[in-house]
Amino acid sequence: MALEILYFAWVRERIGLPKERIDTNARTVAELVEELKAREERYAVAFADISALRVALDQDLSDFSASLEGVREVAFFPPMTGG
């Protein structure tokens, strides 16, 4: 399954890129995170504490237990600070 992965704010800075395309068999966001963490130290650091992170699936806020079935775009970022 091909996924577009986006990173914002300090997640983007720690991982060092704003987006990437990956092929994965992960069924949930949590599984995807484990896969990413296993890749390289910078991912492990960025995803060290997922309680400090938020995830959006196809541009809708979701959670780490959510299924990736049918999803095309996954974004990881810290809690928002708009307004």
Partner: protein, 147 residues
């Protein structure tokens, strides 16, 4: 309803004047402006707001739709900037209009509470050599529980 996400400054006076103009059924019009503060120590030089193009518009639309469902509103406006700003610059505005003040006030507070914590914007402050991402406040997350 109008939702605007843009980098360039907006003209608050013009927006506020045009909002709900000519409507004689709306007795209450509220505007909120969010302005870049110099910071508690006053040494912040500039702020950069990052956002998630596509999701930002979608999230703001959803928040505004929900406000229109919950309250009796004649109109809603949300403008939010991204990019570089300096102390005193306008970051964003919302405007609400309703027959009576209660709906306009509650809807404006609802829009601000959700926009703060549910629209994908992230602020980074720069001072001298340093920079830091603004941390989300527990009180902003807690504010959502009242709705």
């Amino acid at each position: 309803m109008r939702i605007v996400v843009q980098e360039q400054p907006f003209d608050f006076a013009a927006e506020a004047t045009a909002f709900a103009k000519g409507r004689t059924d709306l007795g209450a019009v509220i505007t909120f402006q969010g302005i870049v503060r110099a910071g508690d120590t006053g040494d912040m030089e500039r702020m950069v707001i990052e956002h998630y193009p596509g999701m930002t518009e979608k999230a703001l639309q959803k928040i505004a739709d929900e406000a229109l469902t919950r309250w009796n509103l004649g109109d809603v406006l949300v403008i939010h900037r991204y990019g570089e700003m300096r102390a005193g610059d306008q970051i964003m505005m919302v405007a609400t209009a309703s027959r009576h003040r209660k709906d306009a006030f509650e809807a404006a507070e609802y829009l601000m509470d959700y926009l703060k914590s549910r629209a994908p914007f992230w602020k980074k402050e720069y001072a001298g050599e340093g920079s830091a991402w603004v941390a989300a406040k527990d009180e902003d997350e807690d504010a959502l529980s009242r709705w």
